[in-house]
Symmetry: C2
Subunit: 308 residues, 2 copies
């Protein structure tokens, strides 16, 4: 049994990761600034940006495995914020103290934004860990890519097992500002969902599948970067149309109602060969099933708010 410390444990991905790790039989510890009042894991309170507090926790807990999911994810800011640099510092500091305290395997959350998003280079092909150039455009991708390069070199130098899951487009109920919950909320309110042309193809993965993939990577012996996606490209128009149908309001889906962002890439889909063949993980939640769960969960949240 591994002693696993999960950073960002109360976050979007973290909550689902705790479930996956516990069902794998591990002793699971969660780090959060504000741990929830539940027994999803053994909770520890600390701010990841408080270097001394993190060092103290690692020294006292001595985890064998680390699943590092924490990062600044404030909507509308994380993509370009200078705080990304603080998260690189915190990540390196975490890895050093983990290794010094006898840690054996470090798995971190990367992003598909580490790769180039240039359609001309991607050519509509699936993104491959080895062959696709990494040329991130924004600070978030630059920071994650630099963290990956540094952790990979550090791990080689000290003999630490290291893997890095590059997450594609997770969806689920907990990020109300993202595309899918936004459409659901509009339709539930009887408002039209104003979409772009919708021909952009993305690799959407349900957050609980994504979390289970990270747990599987932690349990595996795989080294280096592994894409975390489904391998299936779905157009945004298809997702919107499914949501219209599932919610019984297809007429509220308005394609071509607003302009796509300039330079928005056409196709971002993972080659999941490594995840499938080396980690042995395949996403299980079909898109309609994941969308239904998201709708149900958002309805519950909104009913709670209305009843409150």
């Amino acid at each position: 049994m591994a002693v696993v410390l999960v950073t960002g444990a109360s976050g979007f991905l973290g909550r689902h990761a705790l479930t996956a790790l516990r069902s794998g039989g591990h002793e699971v510890h969660g780090l959060s600034r504000r741990p929830p009042a539940d027994d999803a894991c053994i909770w520890h309170t600390a701010d990841m940006l408080d270097a001394d507090a993190v060092a103290r926790l690692i020294r006292s807990l001595r985890p064998s495995h680390l699943l590092h999911l924490a990062w600044m994810m404030e909507h509308g800011r994380y993509w370009t914020s200078p705080e990304n640099v603080r998260w690189v510092e915190a990540t390196l500091h975490l890895a050093r103290h983990f290794e010094a305290a006898g840690g054996r395997r470090f798995v971190g959350a990367g992003t598909c934004a580490e790769y180039t998003w240039d359609d001309a280079i991607l050519g509509g092909r699936a993104i491959d860990e080895q062959r696709t150039p990494r040329a991130p455009d924004h600070f978030y991708g630059i920071a994650k890519n630099a963290a990956f390069e540094l952790l990979a070199a550090y791990s080689r130098a000290v003999g630490l097992a290291f893997a890095w899951g590059r997450l594609f487009f997770p969806y689920g109920p907990d990020r109300p500002t993202m595309l899918i919950p936004e459409i659901v909320t509009a339709l539930q309110d009887g408002r039209p969902a104003l979409c772009t042309h919708g021909r952009q193809r993305r690799d959407f993965i349900h957050v609980s599948d994504a979390a289970a993939a990270f747990a599987a990577i932690l349990d595996s012996g795989v080294s280096g970067a592994v894409n975390v996606g489904t391998g299936t490209a779905t157009t945004i128009a298809d997702v919107a149309t499914r949501l219209g149908r599932l919610l019984g309001r297809p007429e509220l889906i308005k394609l071509d109602a607003r302009a796509a962002r300039p330079g928005e890439p056409q196709c971002l889909v993972a080659d999941v060969g490594r995840l499938r063949d080396e980690v042995g993980f395949v996403a299980k939640i079909a898109l309609d099933e994941g969308l239904r769960a998201t709708i149900a969960s958002l309805s519950g949240t909104r009913d709670d708010h209305r009843n409150a």
Copy 2:
């Protein structure tokens, strides 16, 4: 007049940078773990890896300009040491505190080891800041490249002026373990200098020229990476032969006396177009002159040791 703080100020490059900056009319402060007892600048004592000490100094001094030369440079270790990651952390921390204290321009020391050293890709051409791929092989180059990527993104996000000098092959008297001082010392002792085939071409730049280039970059408005070299490729055999002649012991230069390291690149020379045209700096010290100065300085050092 700028208030310039130089990190690594008592080091190989730092000592010469202080001279260049003072002759440029700046108020020059030097940071060092063990400042020398001289008035080459206003000295401050701190360990760059002591985050609190660095933050305190920056807050009290409030420099307008920062020339960040400090890095772990222990011979035989810096190329692969896991401590490289601590220097990335220290560098990011330094930049953040500098910016928070009103700092305006940050110039850091990069390295030609950030670029690919693959002969097949370089094809004997000069290394260009934009066109040559960055694909460092060793931890030192990986760490410097990651620091560059992060500092460039951070500076864009916060509006800090930022430049990065990628230093090629500095030589001078202060690194007795490097090629040129090693040959000089052997010949001064009457021992043969055992060289490889010597056909490798390198861009050797005298350390005082390199330091003057960094001072010029600091004074310029140039943004991003600038190669710091002479633009001239010299074979190691040529350097060795010159040293034999200058020291009057040509017969002690033994080419083909040992094997080159596997994968040692054939030609590493800077395209100095940016340094020349945008910074307005051209290296002044011809190779024979630099070699003579190195020989004279090493003779002095050795006489001092003998007399002590």
